[in-house]
């Protein structure tokens, strides 16, 4: 564990998911989790807090994960921030496509609560890890 809490921005439209994910990370690691329930809010928050990692739900109403990702990438200040997708979709077919987009990982839902922290930690750069 590092001295400083790692800032994670979680963008997910499901309140329950937001809550359990935040609880999980805070219980199992030194995470500072910021929540956003829409892509728009997520983009705004991302520029404000400049998180170490952004986790975006793929299936969201209005602005979905891919659109949110695209919007994030247009923000210069956070263009280098690692982004992972959070998805309940099972099909692996799109994974290659995500790799091409520059997504560093796809976290499947449901996730294993005890290992989520460790899994996400790998995605954060060595400065933070």
């Amino acid at each position: 564990m590092s001295e400083r809490a790692i800032r994670l921005l979680l963008i997910d439209d499901e309140a329950s998911i937001r809550e359990v994910t935040k609880a999980t990370l805070e219980a199992t690691g030194n995470w500072d989790v910021t929540l956003a329930d829409t892509g728009e809010l997520g983009v705004t928050l991302a520029t404000e807090i400049n998180p170490d990692l952004i986790l975006i739900d793929l299936m969201m109403p209005d602005m979905d994960g891919i659109a949110t990702y695209a919007a994030l990438r247009q923000q210069e200040s956070i263009s280098k921030t690692p982004v992972a997708f959070f998805t309940a979709k099972a099909n692996m077919e799109e994974r290659q496509q995500f790799d091409d987009m520059g997504i560093c990982a796809v976290i499947s839902k449901p996730f294993e609560p005890l290992s989520l922290s460790a899994d996400l930690m790998k995605l954060v750069g060595p400065d933070n890890g």
Binding site: E14, S16, I17, E19, V20, T21, A23, T24, A27, T28, M59, A88, K89, A90, N91, M92, E93, R95, Q96, K109, P110, F111, E112, P113, L114, L116
Partner: protein
């Protein structure tokens, strides 16, 4: 034992009154028995026989009823298996067989049902080999030995073929159906296989007793069984049902029969064979063929087979029934009576004995409590009975197939039968007196006691008397579904409960499979590309699928309840018997028909309907399922084809050329009348033959048409062959073979067109002969001829050429003409062959100076022309003419000209040269001198410029005569003025000359005649003066007096007489006469003086003083006085000596003429008017071969050749009469030596000056040679004309004005006219050139020689013409100088070809319209898959114009979003034989950006050898289907999301709570959380697995193959199960592995994780799971070994099935979903690998899979 007990039973002690009563009863019984017996015997005596018959009938009735029923039942049971097989296409074979054996195993009559697959040749050989060596192959094959016993096959010396093998129940034995020992079995098996119906074998002895086998054939699912051949091909084996004959014949298993005696009747079952024989199938041992009294046979129809059941009475029947005579009854009655009496007696005696014993015991035992004793005895008896009953019950229980368990009221097991033992796996001692709940899993396990108590207390029955499905627990811990029925039996101790347990796990599995199958069927029904309707009764269609509705264009409501006929077009004639009737009557299984339907919108729709019955469980047809396919397009194509074929046939029949149709490599199939005519053979003689069979003996061009056509690329081959006609004559034919292809391009057949070209061949031979003559001509030509190649190397030189050069002609060959050029001479230009070879010109002419071998110069004129065919090698032919002589002459001329020039310049006569139009171009110095000027000043001037001024010139305009060409030369005089002003008289002689250039010039010779003019002037002055005296000045004139003396003379006279005038005057002229003339002269003068003569003339010879005699001619006229007196006379004398000399000369000439006459080379004769020869010259004598004497006095007429006698007589008379001046003749004469000569002559008459005939001269020439030559020419001409007239093609010779010079008969016939009518007419009259047709050269080009060969096609417009279209081949004929003479035009009838072209165009049009109007996009592609053409549908689909599509690949239009990569060009599929029928789905993008999903079907047209011709790509728009698929994907995706999202929250929340991360929990809560956590994981896995399976089956999973490290994959999988392993205390070990493989690594990790997780789950704590990876050269194998309980052998095959678990409890115990292995299997199979398990129960399992390596 009981008897002994009973024997000592004190309870039987009785008193004596009882004994007495018994005696009375005995007596009564005997009396009644005897009486009744006697009565019965008496009454039965009369109808004994009838009762025997009745008895038999009753037996037979039972036999027949039962046997027939059994036979039906058994056969249909077996037959059902086949139906089940066919209808269970989604069940694996293993599943099917397991199910079948379970399902049918209960059929009471069937002993077993097994599966006898068709043994392949290889397999059989393996069986045999192994059996021979005695090795075990899992089971042993036994067979029948000759003595009828079964022996293991490996004991036999020789091996018999075994067709089918059946494995025995124990898996270690079995039997083969051995066709060698049972020859009839082969027939039955084949019969079953070929008819598709069950067959029964005759009974045989097997290890389980006498049996028959029922063979039910099975065929591959989905394969056709329409014909015997189909069935043989698709046959896969038999379902073999084994039955004991006695069962079938009704003797066993039937309670009805078991109660009856079977004695007396026996039964036999036979099968009717086609031959009328019967094959005995089943026979009872008691059946004998001795003629029985009672016999009955009847047919049993079962399994579509007719059997005969025969029942007859046997000997024993008679023994027992036949003699049921009254005495027998009597005996029977008496016996019964006796028996009853005996019983009573024994009873009586036992009582007596007992009484004695009781008495003894009573005495021995004083006290006895009799009541107690009775009670004890009663209980003992009950116990004995109970024991006996229990034993009986146990034996029953032990033999039932259902497990039967009895428990007491406390739930303790009391009995446990054999079936229960095998079902639950417990031995009886393990369960007896234990609680029955041990056989139940939770919750029943815990609840059972409570259930039981509840029932006992409340009587509320939950299961008593009701069958219900519960779960059982086996000893091994596995659970299974069972059907339980419980009955209760009150016993003394309380109540016993008996449970009958039936294992229904197999049934359950089957039910699940059935439900699965049903769902699949529903899906199939809904999504079938063909329309489907279902109808079970007369109520019409009950179900219809969406495709069918689309086809009909109607809604479901409109279709339900209707029948197809309601949608059938009125024009369609339905068959009298509908498919329904055929199928329902069982006449056929399926029907296929085509009919025309009418869609809702009125469109016609041709469909093919396949109707088949669907059947109930008894096999009865209950409904019809119809599959309806849209064949509209196919029908239309077929109709067009039929139409086209009819036309083709008509064309064939009427074709003017022979035609034969054959498929490649086959004899001719269709031959038209013309070909029969050509071959001179009948159809029968031709049938079965190839054309080559009629080849004439001798060498033939190779008959390789088929080969050539197959090799391509040519579609048509023409060759000439020599054939033998039926009458033995040989003919030449031209055979044009063309391939005919099917629409797909495959070779359909070869059409041969055969033309009789014998005539043409003959003509060609004549042509060759003619060419030979040409060669001879060249050889003998007087001019040199050299033919050279393009490189100027001489390849031919004629002898004349060699002669010219003074060498042998052979020396010239290979040389160039330049090698003979005269050394050092500059040759003129113009010999280049380039323009000849390029065709720029066809003739060159130039001169060359060559050097002969002897060094002499040789001037030649060379005419070079190109020869050879336009396309063939061009040759240059040079004709060299020796012009050396002419050249020398020209040289001489040039020298002469030079001399003339010198003369001109040095001549003293002035000369000028002027052109005709005036102006002087040349002048010589003499003229300049004459005019006193410089020569140069005269140039350009005319002579008239020097005319003397003021002097009138005479004869002006003379020059005009020259210019006009009226005179060659003119003379005139001119007075010119010199430069110094002096006059010059000149005489000008102007002559027209030609200069070397051909220009006409005027040469004027100007002679200075000034001097002469002066003299003339003087003379004129004198004449003026002496005009009177000398008016006749040019002659000598003298005046004479009467004395004949001269009184005056002029100078001329003096000159004539050589004397001076003075000498003459006074003298007489007669004195000077030569002596010979004196007399005559004297007489003349006197008469003149006397006046007798007015004048006189004379001609005398005089003598001059010098003695010279001269001739003088003169006249004398007297001049008289007025009175007439003679005064003097004037005499004029002219010297005529010269004339006289000429006369003498003439005489001399005549002499010369005579000599000429004698030596002339032509014959000359003189004839008199009587036509008699006066004289003849030697030449004439030679011509006629007769001497002068012989000829004289004869007439030439006499020598005429006989055939000319009397001809043209009298022509001489015309000459004589003067009617004609000359006649010419040409006649044959007989020569003196008898030979015939031809002579040509001209006869001219010679007349005197008055025109009187004197004689005739005949000039005669021998023209025999010429005549012979002419004769030859004429004959040659005749031959040509013959050829011309008899040529089979039309020929016309066309004059420059385009009129027909002549034409042949063939043309006349073709145009329905005559040659005479055509002559002089316009050639194009009957077939005018088509102004819109193919360009023909303009006639002016033909005339100018620009074009000398052309072809054209024209339409014939002549009425009645036999040809409709002709091809005209024309050649210009030119003379030696290249001037056009006439054209030879050959007209061929190409009507048939044109018609064929029209047909082809029509056919092409039809294809084109089909192509264009097809709703399916079609592209034709070349070898490189590049599109060569596309139809409108495709253009619309691709949103592109035709031009944009051509030359591109279909792939070029693919969308970038196509999952397979947009715009990717496909490799050529042309060489891939599998590519045909290749179907892919592609996403295309149109130009407007819209996209379309399409199915692309590839088809290739190939020829016989498989060579690619062209490809077809058919594109069907499947966007709609894709849309549905996409919706399904989205649905799946949505479901996935919707299921996982709540799960995420649950899993995270529960997991977190359970982990303790959220703080301490009460133990109970923690436990609950752990349970929740576990179940959440389980649910997550289930959702994942179910979605995986869903996507797997929908084909939505696409493997992403990448190169993956083996170690990494194993590591990730091991890591994934790390937590579970740790939890279970199982150690997972993996071997380190290097290497990699191209796979979808996530999927392979998933598989490995699955297998490892399974291994961990099933391993006991402390065990090790080994993961072994073996990197092989072409594959990688993964093994996962565990030390678990192992997989039962019988379940190995099914373990990879979906939802399969070895033990039903596993899902709970191990948290499995039952899908893991199925998913693993799918992944491995998708990778092209295989997965399997090897297991030993109790030791462990190894799950392995192997993946192939890909490049």
């Amino acid at each position: 034992m009981r008897e002994s007990v009973g024997g000592s039973d004190p309870d039987l002690i009785g008193g004596s009154p009882v004994s007495r009563a018994r005696y009375l009863l005995l007596t009564l019984v005997v009396a009644v028995g005897v009486g009744v017996t006697l009565l019965a015997a008496l009454s039965s005596m009369s109808n004994a026989q009838r009762r025997a018959q009745d008895a038999f009938d009753e037996e037979v009735g039972l036999h027949a009823l039962v046997a027939e029923d059994r036979i039906h039942g058994v056969l249909e049971a077996v037959e059902e298996v086949g139906d089940l097989f066919d209808s269970s296409s989604f069940v694996s074979d293993d599943e099917f067989l397991t199910f079948v054996s379970r399902a049918l195993g209960r059929h009471p009559e069937l002993q077993s049902v097994s599966w006898a697959p068709l043994v392949s040749e290889a397999e059989r050989t393996a069986f045999e080999a192994q059996a021979r060596t005695g090795g075990a192959i899992g089971y042993e094959i036994v067979e029948y030995a000759a003595d009828g016993t079964l022996v293991p096959t490996n004991r036999r010396d020789a091996y018999f073929p075994v067709l089918y093998a059946v494995v025995g129940d124990d898996g270690a034995s079995g039997y083969g159906i051995d066709i060698a020992t049972w020859p009839w079995t082969e027939g039955i098996m084949e019969g079953a296989r070929d008819t598709g119906r069950a067959k029964v074998t005759p009974s045989f002895q097997s290890s389980t007793g006498r049996q028959v086998a029922i063979l039910q054939p099975l065929y591959g699912r989905g394969l056709s069984t329409d014909t015997v051949a189909d069935r043989r091909a698709s046959f896969i084996g038999f379902v073999v049902g084994e039955v004991q004959p006695s069962v079938l014949l009704g003797h066993e298993g039937s309670e009805l029969l078991a109660q009856r005696t079977k004695d007396g009747v026996a039964a036999m079952v036979t099968e009717s064979l086609a031959s009328g024989d019967r094959l005995t199938l089943l026979k009872e041992p008691g059946f004998d063929d001795a003629s029985p009294e009672f016999i009955v046979s009847f047919d049993v129809h079962a399994a579509n087979q007719t059997w005969v059941l025969t029942v007859e009475s046997t000997t024993s029947f008679y023994a027992t029934r036949d003699r049921i005579q009254p005495w027998l009854l009597l005996m029977l009655g008496l016996s019964i009576t006796g028996l009853v009496s005996g019983y009573l007696i024994i009873l009586q005696r036992r009582s007596t004995t007992a009484e004695a014993m009781v008495a003894t015991r009573a005495r021995q035992l004083a006290v006895a409590n009799s009541a107690l004793s009775r009670e004890i005895n009663e209980r003992t008896a009950a116990e004995v009975q109970a024991v006996a009953e229990r034993g009986q019950l146990q034996s029953i229980l032990d033999t039932t197939v259902d497990a039967i368990i009895t428990i007491d009221g406390g739930g303790l097991i009391q009995s446990f039968n054999g079936a229960a033992q095998s079902t639950f796996g417990y031995a009886p001692e393990e369960v007896i007196n234990k609680n029955v709940s041990m056989l139940m899993p939770e919750p029943d396990h815990s609840g059972h006691d409570q259930y039981l108590r509840n029932y006992q207390t409340t009587g509320e029955a939950k299961i008593i008397g009701i069958g219900r499905e519960v779960t059982g627990l086996r000893k091994d811990g596995s659970t299974f579904p069972l059907e339980l029925s419980v009955s209760e039996a009150p016993v003394r101790e309380g109540t016993l409960y008996t449970g009958i347990v039936r294992d229904i796990s197999v049934r359950k599995a089957a039910e699940a499979a059935l439900a699965d199958s049903e769902a699949r069927f529903r899906l199939l029904f809904e999504s079938s590309p063909a329309g489907i309707t279902l109808a079970s009764g007369p109520n019409g269609i009950e179900q219809v699928n969406p495709t069918m509705l689309r086809m009909l264009g109607r809604s479901e409501e409109e279709v339900i309840g209707k029948i197809l006929a309601d949608f059938t077009d009125e024009s369609y004639e339905r068959p009298r018997t509908g498919s329904r009737a055929l199928i329902m009557s069982g006449e056929t299984e399926t029907t296929v028909s085509e009919r025309l339907l009418r869609r809702a919108n009125g469109d016609a729709l041709w469909v093919q309907i396949t109707a088949a019955a669907f059947r109930d469980e008894h096999g009865a047809a209950v409904g019809i399922i119809r599959t309806v396919e849209d064949i509209t397009v196919r029908r239309a194509a077929e109709e067009r084809l039929a139409e086209s074929e009819t036309r083709l046939r008509a064309m064939l029949e009427s074709a003017p050329i022979g035609m034969a149709w054959s498929t490649p490599g086959e004899p001719m199939q269709t031959v038209n009348p013309k070909l029969r005519e050509i071959l001179g053979r009948t159809d029968e003689e031709i049938a079965g033959h190839r054309l080559s069979d009629f080849a004439a003996p001798g060498p033939q061009p190779r008959d390789g048409t088929t080969q050539i056509l197959a090799e391509g690329p040519s579609e048509t081959v023409t060759e000439e062959r020599r054939l033998l006609r039926g009458d033995g004559t040989a003919i030449w034919v031209a055979v044009t073979a063309s391939v005919v292809r099917q629409p797909g391009g495959t070779l359909n057949g070869v059409l041969r067109m055969v033309e009789d070209i014998t005539e043409r061949r003959k003509a060609e031979e004549e042509l060759r002969a003619s060419e030979e003559r040409f060669r001879v001509l060249i050889e003998s030509a007087p001019v040199g001829i050299v033919v050279s190649t393009e490189t100027e190397s001489a390849i031919l030189a004629n002898p004349a050429m060699g002669h010219m050069l003074g060498i042998k002609e052979s020396e010239i060959l290979g040389k160039r003409l330049t090698e003979y050029w005269y050394p050092g001479y500059a040759q003129e230009a113009g010999g280049s062959r380039a323009p000849l070879l390029s065709g720029e010109t066809d003739r060159l002419q130039y001169q060359r100076l060559l050097q002969r071998a002897d060094g002499a110069p040789l001037w030649v004129n060379v005419a070079a022309s190109a020869i050879g065919t336009p396309n063939g090698p061009r040759l240059v032919m040079r004709v060299l003419e020796d012009i050396t002589e002419r050249k020398l002459a020209e040289e001489a001329l040039r020298e002469s000209e030079e001399r003339f020039r010198v003369l001109f310049d040095s001549s003293s006569v002035g000369m000028t040269v002027s052109p005709l139009e005036g102006g002087t171009t040349q002048v010589n110095p003499a003229l300049a001198r004459m005019l006193g000027v410089e020569t140069s000043s005269i140039i350009g001037k005319a002579l008239s410029d020097y005319w003397y001024p003021g002097h009138e010139q005479r004869d002006t305009g003379r020059n005009q005569l020259l210019i006009a060409g009226e005179a060659e030369q003119v003379r005139y005089e001119r007075l010119l003025q010199r430069a110094d002003g002096a006059p010059v008289w000149v005489n000008v002689t102007a002559t027209v000359i030609d200069d070397p250039n051909g220009t006409r010039l005027i040469l004027r010779a100007v002679e200075d005649i000034t001097e002469r003019k002066h003299a003339e002037d003087a003379l004129r002055d004198s004449e003026e003066r002496f005009r009177d005296l000398f008016e006749v000045a040019p002659v000598g004139i003298g005046l004479k007096d009467a004395e004949n003396r001269l009184i005056a003379v002029n100078d001329e006279l003096a000159t004539i007489f050589g004397r001076s005038t003075e000498e003459l005057i006074g003298n007489r002229l007669k004195d000077y006469l030569s002596p010979t003339a004196v007399l005559e002269n004297k007489v003349g003068f006197a008469r003149l003086v006397s006046g007798e003569l007015e004048n006189r003339e004379f001609e005398h010879q005089w003598v001059r003083p010098d003695g010279e005699v001269f001739w003088g001619s003169g006249s004398e006229r007297p001049i008289r006085a007025v009175d007439g007196e003679f005064r003097y006379s004037i005499i004029a004398i002219e010297e005529v000596t010269e004339r006289k000399k000429v006369e003498q000369e003439l005489r001399r000439n005549e002499e010369q003429l005579r000599v000429l006459f004698d030596v002339a080379p032509i014959g000359l004769t003189f004839k008199d008017k009587n036509n008699k020869i006066i004289s003849s010259n030697p030449a004439a004598q030679q011509i006629f071969g007769r001497s002068q004497e012989e000829l004289s006095g004869t007439s030439l007429k006499e020598y005429l050749a006989p055939e000319y006698e009397s001809q043209r007589a009298g022509s001489t008379a015309k000459v004589v009469s003067g009617e004609v001046d000359t006649i010419s003749f040409e006649r044959p004469y007989s020569k003196g030596d008898g030979t015939t000569i031809w002579a040509r002559g001209v006869e001219s008459a010679v007349r005197d000056s008055d025109g009187n005939y004197l004689f005739s001269i005949q000039a005669i020439e021998d023209i025999t040679e010429r005549r012979l030559a002419e004769q030859e020419i004429r004959e040659s001409e005749e031959r040509f004309l013959f050829l011309f007239d008899s040529a089979p093609i039309g020929i016309a010779m066309v004059a420059p004005d385009r009129t027909v010079m002549t034409a042949n008969q063939a043309l006349a016939k073709m145009l329905n006219t005559t040659v005479e009518e055509m002559r002089g007419g316009w050639f194009g009259k009957s077939f005018p050139p088509d102004p819109l047709g193919a360009a023909e050269p303009s006639w002016s080009k033909v005339l100018s020689g620009e074009v000398d060969y052309w072809q054209s096609e024209r339409q014939v417009i002549a009425p009645g013409a036999s040809a409709g279209w002709v091809q005209i081949t024309s050649s210009a004929v030119k003379d030696g100088s290249g001037r056009f003479l006439y054209a030879i035009r050959m007209i061929e009838d190409i009507t048939a070809i044109k018609q064929a072209e029209v047909e082809i165009r029509a056919s092409e049009y039809r294809f084109r319209s089909l192509f264009d109007s097809s709703p399916v996009g079609i592209a034709l592609v070349d070898h490189a898959s590049l599109i060569t053409s596309s139809n409108a549908a495709l253009q619309e689909m691709l949103g592109a114009e035709a031009e944009e599509i051509v030359g591109r690949q279909l792939g070029d239009f693919r969308s970038p979003d196509d999952p397979r990569g947009g715009g990717a060009r496909s490799a050529t599929l042309a060489d891939d034989p599998d590519a045909a029928g290749y179907v892919v789905e592609r996403l295309f993008r149109r130009r407007d950006g819209s996209e379309m999903w399409a199915q692309v079907v590839t088809a290739h047209a190939r020829d016989d050898d498989g060579a690619f011709l062209f490809g077809v790509r058919m594109v069907v728009d499947i966007s709609e289907r894709k849309q549905v698929e996409r919706l399904k994907d989205e649905f799946l995706s949505m479901v996935s999301h919707e299921l996982r999202t709540p799960l995420t929250a649950i899993q995270a929340g529960v997991g977190l709570a359970a982990s303790g991360a959220l703080g301490e929990m009460p133990d109970k809560a923690l436990r609950m959380l752990n349970i929740a956590n576990d179940n959440t994981h389980r649910l997550t896995r289930l959702v994942n697995d179910v979605l995986d399976v869903e996507r797997m089956t929908a084909g939505r999973i696409v493997l992403e193959r990448v190169t993956s490290l083996l170690s990494s994959m194993v590591e990730q999988a091991v890591q994934a199960v790390g937590a579970i392993a740790a939890q279970s205390g199982v150690h997972v070990e993996s071997s380190p592995t290097s290497g990699s493989i191209v796979v979808d690594s996530d999927r392979i990790i998933q598989t490995l994780t699955n297998l490892i997780a399974n291994a961990v789950k099933f391993s006991p704590p402390g065990a090790t799971v080994n993961v072994i990876v073996t990197d092989k050269p072409t594959s990688v194998r993964f093994d996962v070994q565990d030390q678990g309980r192992g997989v039962p052998k019988e379940q190995v095959a099914r373990i990879f099935d979906r939802f399969y678990q070895v033990d039903a409890s596993d899902s709970r115990v191990y948290n499995g979903t039952g899908l893991g292995l199925a998913i693993s299997k799918w992944i491995v199979t998708e990778h092209g690998g295989s997965i399997w398990v090897e297991s030993e129960q109790g030791v462990g399992s190894t799950f392995s899979f192997e993946l192939p390596k890909h490049e």
